[in-house]
């Protein structure tokens, strides 16, 4: 969700669509869960309400990252990059070494 808001303020439905797109359709939370997470993030000070408007007679509220939310996302992204780099490095290791280690274990 923080990634969905990284490029600027978004409303609830746009966040939902963005989360589906980012995860390749794997993460598609029900609206109830979406708002529970929004509530938690607002409570923890990671996101905040930005503005409201009405489109086609429907109320929309926009949310944006706070400074703390930006830091949180940067930290999480750095961790993920490090883990991904480790995974790539280990996958490049010779298969024979892994097989010998496996046999010894």
């Amino acid at each position: 969700m923080l990634t969905a808001l990284a490029s600027g303020p978004q409303h609830g439905y746009a966040i939902l669509r963005d989360m589906q797109a980012l995860s390749g359709g794997r993460v598609s939370p029900p609206v109830g869960s979406l708002y529970r997470v929004i509530d938690n993030l607002v409570r923890d000070g990671l996101i905040e309400e930005a503005s409201n408007d009405v489109v086609d007679g429907r109320f929309r509220r926009y949310y944006q990252l706070t400074v703390a939310g930006r830091h949180e996302l940067e930290g999480a992204a750095a961790t993920m990059t490090a883990v991904a780099a480790q995974a790539r490095r280990r996958l490049k290791a010779k298969p024979s070494t892994i097989a010998i280690k496996g046999a010894r274990a």
Partner: protein, 320 residues
Amino acid sequence: MNGLERRYRMLLAIYPPEYLEQREEEMVAVLLASAHADQRRPAMKEAVGLVYSGLRARTAAYGRAERSNARMWSALVSAAALSALATLVLTVHATGTWSTERPRLFAPFWLAIAALPALVVFAPRVVRRLGVGPVAIAVAGLVSGRSVPLVQRTLLVAVVWFAFVVWLTPTAARISLRAASVIVGVGAGLAGAAKVHSAMRWSGPPAAYRAPARAGYVLQNVFQDVPTLSKWIWIPSLCVLVIAVCTKGTVAIIYGFVIVPLALAITALSSVPVLDSSLWGVQMFVEVPIVSMTVAGLAAILGTTLTMRSDHRAVDTTMR
């Protein structure tokens, strides 16, 4: 407002009013935007999500530990109450009468107990302010009226009240409550055992009976005593419930899978009057399915509750 929107708004009514004041319109907008063009009923996924999140918002007044206990508690108690009511309905259907003592005695009690989880969920402030005790006694008193003897009613309500108080009590106090429950539970268990023993001894068959008739006589007498014995089984089992609420974890699971089904099976068997031997046929066909359905239902509810908990926790973390 079309049918879909009206149905979604009805589901949203599960949330507390002050929450809806802030969020209802934007949630309706998101729900409708994510629906198909020709959709007329709420999607199952959305409906379950709204009910779950709505109940979570309702119980936000309680702390985290209290809430996870509340889920377990409400699932178990509601399942128990519902299955007991099912037994009652089937008994009345089979006997065609409300006049037997036992169903009348159990119906109000179970209704009162079934109402408690609802109160805990929908009136958290009232419950926290008053304590569950007075609420429980008021509900039980109002519902049961004069159909249950005062002493029994008070005893049953007191035990339920006790368990709820434990549930709302901080950890330190739970230790002493747990000890007290162990003492009461063991005491009631011993009293029950003594009662069974004396029932067996005094209900010995007349000397003139031959061996097969003697065995039949003893069996019949033991079964006739089950209704009077059931309270001695309920009291220890409720004490175990208190202990389970205090301890959580493994004990709670043992309680859910072993003790509740056992107690339910015994209550179910005792709630059809066995005095009338013509009911034996009905009993075999009505009670056995009820007991097995109860056990299966409890297992399912418990399993679902536990799975939902881990699922939603996973969703909460990964979604960030």
